[in-house]
Symmetry: C2
Subunit: 302 residues, 2 copies
Amino acid sequence: MRALVIHGGAGVVLARMSDSDRAAYDESLGRTVDAGFEVLDKGGMSLDAVTTAVRMLEDDPLFNAGHGAGLTRQRDAELDAAVMDGRDQRAGAVACVTHIKNPVVLARRVMERSAHVMLMGTGAEEFALEQGMALMPGRYFRTAQRLAHVDSLQRGEDFPDVVPATQGTVGAVALDTAGNLAAATSTGGLTNRLPGRVGDTPIIGAGTYAKNGVCGVSATGEGEFFIRSVAAHHIAAAVEYRGLPLRDAVSELVHRILPGLGGLGGIIAVGADGTIVTEFNTQGMFRAERDSSGRRVVAIAR
Amino acid sequence: MRALVIHGGAGVVLARMSDSDRAAYDESLGRTVDAGFEVLDKGGMSLDAVTTAVRMLEDDPLFNAGHGAGLTRQRDAELDAAVMDGRDQRAGAVACVTHIKNPVVLARRVMERSAHVMLMGTGAEEFALEQGMALMPGRYFRTAQRLAHVDSLQRGEDFPDVVPATQGTVGAVALDTAGNLAAATSTGGLTNRLPGRVGDTPIIGAGTYAKNGVCGVSATGEGEFFIRSVAAHHIAAAVEYRGLPLRDAVSELVHRILPGLGGLGGIIAVGADGTIVTEFNTQGMFRAERDSSGRRVVAIAR
């Protein structure tokens, strides 16, 4: 069994999306899930499939990660990402990097080539340079739309936020033929937030988690609530230790625990048998899924 | 029932401690647990008791947190801390702050006076200034012993590390008369590490967790392994959902799961009934505990 699910953020305001907006998102999500699934179809690792998919979403200005990231109140892009390998619970994460084109690639370098799990800020960028990665100027990340968004929030105006910039994240979870699960998540963070704020994305157990034989999970939404509920690990623990079906474990988190704390968002997950679960308590979640049974879904609304 | 347990790091090399070293650690741990317990005895909140205790340990150069923090390979102190309130799973954390005398106090401000859970670096310090907190010069944190330690590591020399600088952390967990649990953890991090490295201390669910009716947990040790195992939340989930006694849940984590990943360290925890558990897979762990039954223990070795 091979399976890949991706998300591009929860919290969509459907009424604000034009037909051409929807078509653009559908096209990007479909292209990304196909490219990631091709890695699996060629016998590649789930870790490579999720890295490929998240890197594509980081490069696409439609989504709040990498190029097109949400901006802080200082108008800077501060990027967070994490990746986890279900084989051995190895993990890598970066937070508050400002010059890294693909934070998910740097997170993977941290996992594979450092003794650490998490690096942040200029220290993470020093490590990137030592790894031979090039830095990007900060302006690469700032799109006209994100600048307009942060400016309108600072003027106290409403903004026709068709792109889920405030709660957006991108992520991917995959199962490969060898039975290995992997998960990756990347974000530009909340628009107009305090500089230095870190959400759930780079927090292993909150926004990202994977364990072979159990499940892989990637979250999107109001990160503070996913941190407080240790969301991704809560789901994995419910599957592993309480014997809950993955669908029920995800549903409990999204529809009972998160609302109990007051949190909005969504979850994508893949079980050890390749079951794909997508769940959200917002109006929509950008998502796409594909598996080796031939199933292929691209969706935004419920 | 009132209970308080504190730790000052695991991984002690007992043979390297003189009698006067031991006396100094015993005195400091005893004074700290008494001061924190006095908060509980006066009817105060567990949140105040753990903040008081961790602040005292941050101020004491014997321990790797605040003044006397372990230094990066650039000879800087980069401090991490977290606090969690078991009543509602509210949490606050700071990472990589370099001018904050008491990171645990700033973590609590993040919890109580911001919309966020985690702030890092200069953004966290900007928030501190907005909160009216003074910044300290970086040299306040660097003691002669920690400078000598990082220098000796960089020369490739052995160092008589009586202070557990390499794996040190400080933390506290408490239960107050109202039945509220709280946990707090603070660290200077690994000596001679890459700048920007973040361990488990400020990661909610890894190094710090508290939930009323379940348990409070603070970890110390090789942080990467506590992140990968989502250690503190693993223990809480085992108690809440698998019905394991707290002692068994802690023991499983410390003696089975951590060694399975190759990790060293220890855990302190308090159950909803006031049961105190301290467990470690290292030679020793600096710790002290006190409860309303009159029990008072200060210990380093097993």
